[in-house]
């Protein structure tokens, strides 16, 4: 994720948030650190004042020490200058570090807040927002805010003070000269405003155009074989060329504008020198302008241009930060759709049955039903298999049971209690979910089995692993349970990952097992181990399994056949085969030749 994630689409929420509101929402975070901030500002002010002081000493060195041929005095002055310079640098170091520490602290608080909030949102939010976008929010948007904070503070306070200090000294030594020189300040300010107005939009455009270049490149590179088959290489090249040109045009404009702006501003530096020379000559008899003073003026003028460098860098930072702040604020105000009930009913485990009562559910909230009028019951201790073709609605049933979504119509009950009346955490703790492929988190094997749950200690982890026969291959690993899991779990085979997911389920000691069987096959040896482990996992436990294995459907108490969101058949395997309906056909297609076992049943 080092590449910047640029968004040119805004959600309705973001569009309506004014910058002020976004920033004031985040201001309280600074209040915590107000003493540190004040300390910083004091250091900053002192440092700035000192940095204006040593040019004065320099002037004295020239006017006094050198004029009076006092080398010893010169050395003293020079030493004093060095001490002040070093002192300033040291002070600036501490100020900078302090500022950075404050900025980091604020950002850490903000990031934790964001993460907390996002974690509490419902699965439907994650369906709508790709992970990349969320990472960009919590990562890059907070970063641009932090840069704004640490850099703008320096800019606003430090540089204003610097310029003010410089002009104060200049006024002190020659208010005639200084009043002429200060005319430049409003001129430059005006130039900055004009410049900003003309270029801000273009700055953003450059980023947009670059995003388009990236998008165009990606598109064509992904589909190059089609481009070649149709022999449309020239078309692809032309499209990329156009995108390149568009970005080039915007970028050239912006770059040249910046160059012209800067050089114009620096031209004024020469003008200021000229003013000092000409008017300094005119007025020196009136004001006793010495050569030392002239040197000092030159140095001061030249220091006063430092801030100009910084301003331009800040412009794009400020833009980015404002946009970032708005997005962060929008994210923090994202509502939860499945709130926990005010007065939750306690439920400590299944005693009787799970029931679906006329449940209708659509992922998109419209008439695109994933489940239609689903009504069924699973009694405690019974095992049920869900079968059907892909996209029929089987996984939906599991998601609804876990209350990852709420149905639009009907209700789901456990022991007669509507699951919406139970706290989500309490409800989910009674289930164990096993997906087609285990989802692995950064960490070691042990913590992936326990998922760092309290109450799942090493003994339980090892017992769970042993029961499902996963301990054998874990034992063969160099670091055993402490072996780090690589990204996407690529250091384990499919079969091993299945066993790990069983171990995870078992370790949490669930009341109810929810299992989505893998569709891909493994070698017969591993398959036997998996089947045996599954049997152990399921024994005596209420289970709902999206079945793809022959051994599973032969083992369960009930089978439900789901097609296009409807439950069309139910019964035991033998009953359904005898009925010679849809199930019978499905069985022959999906199960008969699976896993190297040819079924003779039915």
């Amino acid at each position: 994720m080092s590449a910047e994630f640029f968004e040119d689409e805004k959600t309705a929420a973001e569009r309506d948030i004014p910058s002020r509101k976004a920033f004031s929402g985040l201001l309280p975070l600074l209040k915590e650190h107000k003493y540190d901030l004040v300390f910083c500002l004091v250091l900053l002010a002192t440092g700035t004042i000192l940095s204006v002081y040593w040019p004065i000493l320099l002037k004295d060195a020239v006017d006094i020490d050198i004029k009076s041929h006092d080398f010893h005095g010169l050395l003293m002055t020079a030493s004093l200058i060095i001490i002040i310079q070093v002192g300033t640098i040291v002070m600036q170091y501490f100020q900078r570090i302090k500022l950075e520490t404050i900025g980091q602290a604020v950002m850490v608080t903000l990031k934790r807040k964001l993460f907390d909030h996002v974690l509490s949102l419902d699965v439907s939010f994650f369906d709508r927002n790709p992970v990349g976008r969320l990472l960009a929010r919590i990562e890059s948007d907070t970063e641009s805010l932090r840069m704004l904070f640490t850099n703008t503070v320096v800019l606003v306070v430090g540089d204003l003070l610097l310029v003010a200090g410089i002009y104060a000294v200049m006024f002190y030594y020659s208010w005639h000269l200084a009043s002429l020189l200060i005319i430049v300040v409003p001129i430059i300010a005006a130039l900055v405003v004009i410049f900003e107005r003309k270029t801000t939009r273009r700055f953003l455009n450059v980023r947009k155009k670059m995003a388009e270049v990236t998008a165009t490149l990606t598109e064509f590179l992904q589909s190059m074989s089609i481009v070649q088959i149709f022999h449309r290489g020239s078309y692809a090249r032309r499209r990329v060329d156009l995108a390149n040109k568009a970005k080039f045009d915007e970028d050239v404009y912006v770059n040249v504008a910046v160059i012209i702006f800067f050089n114009l501003v620096f031209f004024f530096e020469s003008v200021m020198f000229a003013v000092v020379i000409y008017f300094g000559d005119k007025w020196r008899h009136a004001e006793l302008l010495t050569s030392g003073t002239i040197i000092m003026f030159i140095i001061l003028i030249w220091r006063s241009y430092d801030p100009i460098w910084r301003v331009s860098e800040q412009l794009s930072t400020i833009q980015k930060a404002i946009a970032g702040a708005k997005r962060i604020f929008a994210l923090l105000s994202e509502p939860q759709c499945l709130p926990d009930p005010e007065q939750p009913v306690a439920w400590g485990g299944l005693k009787e049955a799970i029931r679906f009562e006329n449940v209708w559910f659509s992922y998109t909230g419209d008439n695109n039903w994933a489940l239609k009028d689903a009504t069924f019951e699973i009694t405690k201790g019974k095992r049920m298999a869900l079968v059907g073709v892909t996209g029929g609605g089987k996984t939906t049933i599991i998601s609804l049971l876990l209350r990852l979504y709420d149905p639009q119509r009907g209700r789901i009950t456990v022991d007669g209690i509507d699951i919406r009346k139970i706290r989500k955490a309490d409800l989910r703790r009674q289930f164990a979910l096993v997906l087609q492929d285990i989802f692995l988190f950064p960490g070691d094997v042990g913590s992936n089995i326990s998922l760092d749950a309290e109450g799942v200690d090493e003994t339980r982890i090892k017992t769970a692993a042993k029961t499902v026969d996963a301990d054998r291959f874990i034992g063969k690993l160099e670091d055993g349970y402490a072996t780090e899991v690589s990204e996407k779990g690529s250091n384990f085979s499919r079969g091993e990952r299945q066993l790990l997911s069983f171990a995870r389920a078992l370790a949490s000691n669930p009341d109810i097992l929810l299992l989505d069987e893998a569709t891909s096959s493994v070698d017969p040896e591993t398959e036997r181990t998996i089947q045996a482990s599954l049997k152990k996992l399921m024994s005596g436990r209420t289970s709902i399994i999206v079945a793809h294995r022959l051994s599973t459907i032969l083992d369960v108490d009930q089978i439900m056949v789901i097609r296009r969101g409807e439950i069309i058949e139910r019964g035991s395997h033998t009953e359904l085969i005898l009925a010679n309906g849809y199930y019978s056909k499905l069985f022959h297609l999906q199960f008969k030749h699976r896993n190297g076992v040819t079924a003779n049943a039915g």
Partner: protein, 610 residues
């Protein structure tokens, strides 16, 4: 090193004018810039002693000024403004050219890199993932290479000129003092090298922490279902906290190191001024040096220090750019798998087709003669000696399990890849004898994954082909069962689809891909399982229509539709790169072999609606 310069020169050659501007004007601009401290020095001396400084040029300037009726101070002031103005003007001119060149090079580097990929074969795209390619063409090109290619090199040039001219100026004032001013420079260079190592390490550490931080978040959000199902929110927060604190600490450590380095840099120029002050002051006290000259020296000291930044930058960035150049050159090292007119190539039959032949209409008769195919570097035969014939206008259905080689087989017809053994002939001529463009113009191909682009519906169908007229377009749309739907699109044919346009359904995408293939009125139609996303009624209507138009074309269909299989002139069953069975549907079913088994499964699947 030399080959890197050669690589750059390839591009620079086209822009001699810009190169000349940069090479010639830079020293001129620096000369003007470097004169200003001198002028200021004279002004200070004039202040001090009320007479024109005893410098040939100064006297000459004063005379010119006097002839215009201007006093000495006025002349000097005016000259400063003039020189300053010219310097800024020239600098703006030079910088603009540098910026323009940077951006133009960025455009060229990227365009060239992309252009080359349009010839590369599947082995290239297997080796380099799209994301990787895009990063090389954007990050590497824009961030690292293009800036370095022009600004990097010319700012170094500018910095060296500045240092040289400054030293010369200083030497003409006082050689000894010049040696004093140069004092801090070696220190700077040492600081630079030490800091580069320390900073590098801290940056690397920080990068790792940032990556870890992102990994934790990514894992948590991608696995949100598991997190919620197992009620692991607290544990995730703990992991997050650990990662965020680690990152904060690494960031602060980096800033500390950075600030130290920056402070040292800033300090050195201030120290330099003090050194000049003391040494020059000593000389001034002994009347060896005027105050004006001292002042000028102070100013020149600064001119010496800041170019060091640019020189340091150059050294750092040159390392990065070398790496980026390598990353681009790497792309050039994989050769295209298919080359135009390759009949002289390893598997060619020798002799190329004459121009008149390419104008005669293609009939569409294909002959596969002992065709073999394996990926470069892999011994596994994806296609293992396949031979069959298709008469013009026939419809052939190809079936077989995943991995049996069907897609690669049909991909050889438009020469996406070439057979590694045997030949494929079209109308009696080896495919390699055709001009690629002529060959492909006669083929309509619909892949499994539709592969459409962010453009209008019209442009997606015509795919930039100018020979497609409205009549053809309308016909293709009608056959692909899209006519009514396009009418409901907000801008009809001009509606934009893709990343910044309307999103369309999978079924609509497949039909668009079909229209795209048909609109060229191809003699050979290749369809690779292209109607999987359609609902059954649309699918049936589509195929009915297709079967009406197909007799005019030779069709190669990879399909599992029972209806299509029945209607095909021939069915070829592939298994592990070989032909397992071949013949008409009825005959194959009767012989109750592999095909019969496969066919029964297809029937079942259709009934179930899988």
């Amino acid at each position: 090193m030399l080959d890197k310069i050669k690589w750059f020169y390839r591009y620079y050659r086209r822009y001699r004018y810009v190169l000349a501007v940069l090479l010639i004007l830079t020293p001129v601009q620096v000369a003007f810039q470097v004169s200003i401290p001198r002028l200021i020095g004279w002004s200070i001396d004039y202040f001090d002693k009320d007479t024109v400084p005893d410098d040939v040029v100064a006297v000459w300037l004063a005379d010119i000024g006097a002839s215009f009726g201007l006093g000495v101070a006025a002349t000097l002031a005016l000259t400063v403004v003039l020189f300053g103005g010219v310097s800024c003007l020239l600098y703006a001119f030079v910088q603009s050219h540098r910026a323009w060149m940077n951006l133009r090079l960025e455009w060229l580097f990227r365009q060239d890199a992309f252009d080359r990929t349009t010839d590369k074969g599947p082995n290239f795209f297997n080796k380099f993932r799209t994301g990787d390619l895009v990063t090389r063409m954007t990050d590497d090109v824009a961030e690292k290479l293009s800036w370095f290619a022009c600004s990097g090199i010319f700012r170094l040039y500018e910095a060296l000129l500045l240092v040289t001219f400054t030293l010369i100026m200083m030497a003409t004032i006082d050689t000894r003092l010049m040696l004093w001013s140069v004092g801090p420079l070696p220190v700077l260079i040492v600081i630079f090298f030490i800091s580069a190592t320390v900073l590098d390490k801290r940056y690397e550490h920080l990068q790792k922490r940032i990556s870890h931080f992102n990994d934790v978040m990514e894992a948590c959000f991608s696995g949100i279902r598991v997190v919620k199902a197992y009620v692991r929110e607290k544990a995730q927060k703990a992991s997050f906290d650990e990662a965020v604190y680690d990152r904060r600490d690494a960031e602060i450590a980096t800033v500390k190191a950075q600030t130290v380095v920056e402070s040292m840099y800033f300090y050195i120029w201030q120290l330099g001024i003090v050194i000049v002050l003391v040494a020059g002051g000593y000389m001034a006290i002994n009347a060896d040096l005027s105050t004006g000259k001292l002042g000028a020296f102070v100013y020149y000291t600064v001119y010496l220090i800041f170019p060091m930044f640019d020189i340091g930058q150059f050294l750092v960035k040159s390392r990065q750019s070398a790496i980026s150049i390598n990353r681009l050159v790497e792309l050039e090292e994989v050769h295209p798998m298919v080359v135009e007119g390759d009949s002289e190539g390893p598997n060619g039959s020798g002799g190329s087709g004459s121009p008149e032949d390419s104008n005669s209409p293609v009939q569409g008769g294909l002959v596969f003669d002992r065709v073999e195919f394996n990926f470069p570097g892999s011994p596994r035969k994806i296609i293992d000696t396949i031979s069959f014939e298709i008469a013009p206008g026939q419809t052939i259905a190809l079936v077989g399990r995943v991995g049996s080689g069907k897609t690669w087989l049909v991909n050889m017809v438009p020469r996406l890849v070439d057979p590694t053994g045997g030949t494929i002939k079209l109308d009696g001529r080896d495919l390699k004898e055709f001009q690629l463009e002529d060959l492909r113009r006669n083929i309509g191909y619909v892949p499994q994954e539709p592969a459409l682009f962010s453009d209008t519906v019209r442009n997606n169908i015509t795919f930039g082909r100018k020979e497609v007229d409205q009549a053809l377009l309308d016909w293709a749309i009608e056959v692909a069962q899209l006519k009514d739907e396009i009418a409901t699109f907000p801008d009809g044919l001009e509606t934009a689809i893709g990343t910044r346009g309307m999103s369309i359904s999978g079924g609509q995408k497949q039909r668009l891909a079909l229209a795209r293939a048909l609109v060229g009125k191809p003699r050979i139609l290749i369809l690779d399982d292209c109607t999987s996303a359609l609902d059954s009624s649309t699918e049936t209507a589509l195929w009915d229509r297709l079967h009406e138009v197909m007799p005019g074309m030779t069709a190669l269909l990879i399909t599992h539709r029972p209806d299509t299989l029945q209607k095909a002139d021939q069915v070829i069953v592939l298994g592990e790169g070989k032909i397992v069975e071949q013949g008409k549907h009825d005959q194959l079913v009767k012989s109750d072999g592999e095909y019969a088994r496969i066919y029964r499964r297809y029937q079942l699947a259709e009934e179930i609606g899988a």
